[in-house]
Amino acid sequence: MLTFLVFLPAFAAIVIFTLPRSEERQAKLMALAVTGVLLVLSLVLFAFFDRGEEGLQFVEKFRWIRAEAAGLDIHYFLGIDGLSLTMVILTTFLFTVAILISWNVDKRPKEYFAWLLLLETGVLGVFTAQDLILFFLFWEVELVPMYFLISVWGSGRKEYSAMKFVLFTLAGSALMLVGFLVLAFSAEPSTFDMQALQEADISNALLPLPAIFFLIFAAFAIKMPIVPLHTWLPDAHTDAPTAVSVILAGVLLKMGGYGMLRILIGIMPDTAQDYAVWLASLAAISIIYGAIVTLRQTDLKRLIAYSSVSHMGYVLLGIAALGHVGMTGATLQMFSHGIITGLLFVMVGMIYDRAHTRDVNELSGLAHVTPIIAVAMILAGLASLGLPTMSGFVAELMVFLGAFERFEVATILGVIGILLSAGYILWMVRRIMFGPKSERWAELPDATSWWEQVPMVAMLAVIIVVGIFPAVLIDVIDQAILPLAGKLV
């Protein structure tokens, strides 16, 4: 089941690559069908997931690379628990949205959809892999598709941004590989199986445990991203095409948070306890710095990109809390932020398609001209600043409740971050939606096509449903976080 889930997009991508160039429509329909099937599949998994039973479900495990003499006992090991399932649902949902809003891509559409599908395989693999090398393999798989997606279909300094993204990510994953190899070697017998490593005694590793911790942390810190390793993000987000920005902000950044929970806290909980203060401090810095820089942005996409830096800081704060409430809040924030930021990028994409500018200073009075876009954008903005009844509120509240016990200062700074985010969101919305009605934008068409309205409504629905009735997701998340928190006591 999980193998089908992870590899179906890759097969579809290969098929699409081999289609003749004229069969554009076939390629698009195939891509949509595949992502739709995966979305349904993930909802089926959601329905059949046993929230009461601890541990991994839907496991597929068999020995893959048997070079045991070399200490390379690598398994093909896929499995999901509550944490993975949440991320998988987020991924399949956002990819379906991404395919929908890319419907009108006119430049080499066949390859565009093929690369998007390959990317989906990589990301789903990261969220379901339970073997360190398999995890690393899927982590690297996302690099080449992202490079092509940004550098071919992007805008602005796309080649520079794509290269920057690849180099930053590679540097992080390079260090992560060293951490994984040392970690696996320190277990007796040497293994890359994440579940086995959680039980293993790794105290006599080649490097001191904090060194291993921070080697692996480097990759996740670059991915999340955490200040000061975030400088790749604004460029990549701004210059990528809309759908890719949605995936980047909505899904790829979460790989960092997921990795931290699954690997750093799952396998090295004691080291995490020792260094939680550092993590919380970095989180606070990310939140405040990200928010302050956002206030200065005039390019809509860059604004949302920097707000992502700030919001992922909440995820790190929740993780640093190392408690049940905090980590659940972090996971919920990953899900919620993915959808909210995805929606924000979708809206900006719609505005840009019509107005051909993303400059806050130029856009004004759009609410009069494109009411549907305006309503959706305003709702997305309110969700982003954490308005109650929306998922962001629940997530951030849980993060603060969880973190306040141990890190009062960081939590207070985090709450101030909410203030700042209210500032930049409301300011942005006021400028572009409610300013004076401008002649220049009088003729802008509204979002009336089905492939624009469906994703908008769907995303808003999810945000509100999770906001009003978070238990629907928290039950699932708890299944994974409760045992994790138990280890930390």
């Binding site: 070079a67 003499a69 070399a70 393999l137 550098s151 290269m163 590679l170 994953s173 260090l175 590989l177």
Partner: protein, 500 residues
Amino acid sequence: MLEDIDRIGPAIVVMVAAGLVLLADIVAPLVLGGHRREGDRGWLAFGVLAALAGAAVWAATLVLRDREAPAFSGTYSLDAFTTFFTFLFLGVAALVVLASADTVRKLRFQAEFWSLLLLATSGMMLLAGARDLMLIFIALELTSISQYVLVGILRDDRSSEAALKYVLLGAISSAVLLYGMAFLFGIAGTTKLVAPDGVLSIASVIAEGDPGTRAALIGAAVLLAAGFSFKVGLVPFHMWVPDIYEGAATPVAAFLSVGSKAAGFAVLLRIFHEGFGADSFIGSDWSNLFAAVAAVSMTVGNVIALRQTDMRRLLGYSSIAQAGNIAVGVAAISASDGGFGLGSSGVTFFLATYVFTNLGAFFAVIAISHHIGSFEIKDYAGMAKRAPLVAAALAFCFISLTGLPPTAGFWAKIYIFNAGIHSDLVWLVIVAVLNSAVSAYYYLRVVRHMYLDEAPAEGDIKISPMLAVALTTTVVGVLVVGLVPTFLIDAAERAVTALV
């Protein structure tokens, strides 16, 4: 005696074929008419391939007939290690023949080209099994001298300059090597590297661990490492690589980049892991030596590659960096649970994947550059439209050289870095992985030019069927090993269990 000759049969076949090719070239105009130096001797390539196939069959029968044993008083050893590299070298030669058949047809010295290629290959095959310093030197010189001439075979200014550089530097390195061998002979009293228990050999003398010999042994190790570092292109003996890759004909550069590298590292494994011994009293000394050389090679190779504008020089510096990666495996002296050296199996596995990957890259360069007449990277702009499959092949090989999945290079790096970790060389592995990240820049830069930029000229690029076959074989090899690396890993591990 006959049995021993049987054991080096594959090498003999190749050598005899070298002579026959020259003979055929002389006889052909007498039989077929036409002048000696004119005419398309394209059919010679098929003769060469037949000879290589014959040698491969012989090598296979040697294994099936269970003939693996020491030969010629223990100076040559037919074992799993030898067989692995024999097949590797024959494969390299066959692929290079396929890829270069069209280029060679236009040369003035066609038969000589094939003959030299065969002689170099036979030298490499002997090197893989050589367990005696004298045999190593003879085989090495056979290979090297053939390669010196091959580099200059185009006979234009660049080739002649490259050949002269190669000869001079090669001669100096051979001299240094010989000096190191003399040291070893002086200490041990024999030129045999390993021998059965009770017989005097270099390994047995070193195993005794006489502290008085330590300084001399380290001196010998340094000299030998220096000599071989030249052959494989490690820093600080790497200066010839970019110049020779640029000056020689591209198929020759391809052959050099994988063939002499594989042969050089095979001998390094024999001399250091077998002869000097990983757990001898100087084990950590030469291990540290190679660790330092590896770290510097990777860094220098990658950093200078960033600034290259010529495809051949880029491949040259990439070659230096990859040699550094392989040297990490040489430095990794810890033994695995299976009783073989993890570092040696890492080197062997990496070499096998490197052969496919690098040959693929070179073949793609041959296909494109020989058509557009330029090796400048900026002239590769827009190749994705003009030669979609070739560009995809080049991009795929570069992705493998960076170490991204699903390619063979990904597993090669994981395996060899794992070997490094097991040998407590964590700092070296960190240098190596960061270098991999840096290398992504220049590999992706070429990919970017091919896929993103507009082509300055129009017209599709056609490549000859033989080159296409060679290119496809390498790319398929990289992909298959990338998806299912286990069989090659097993083969490499089995090969190095033969190393005492």
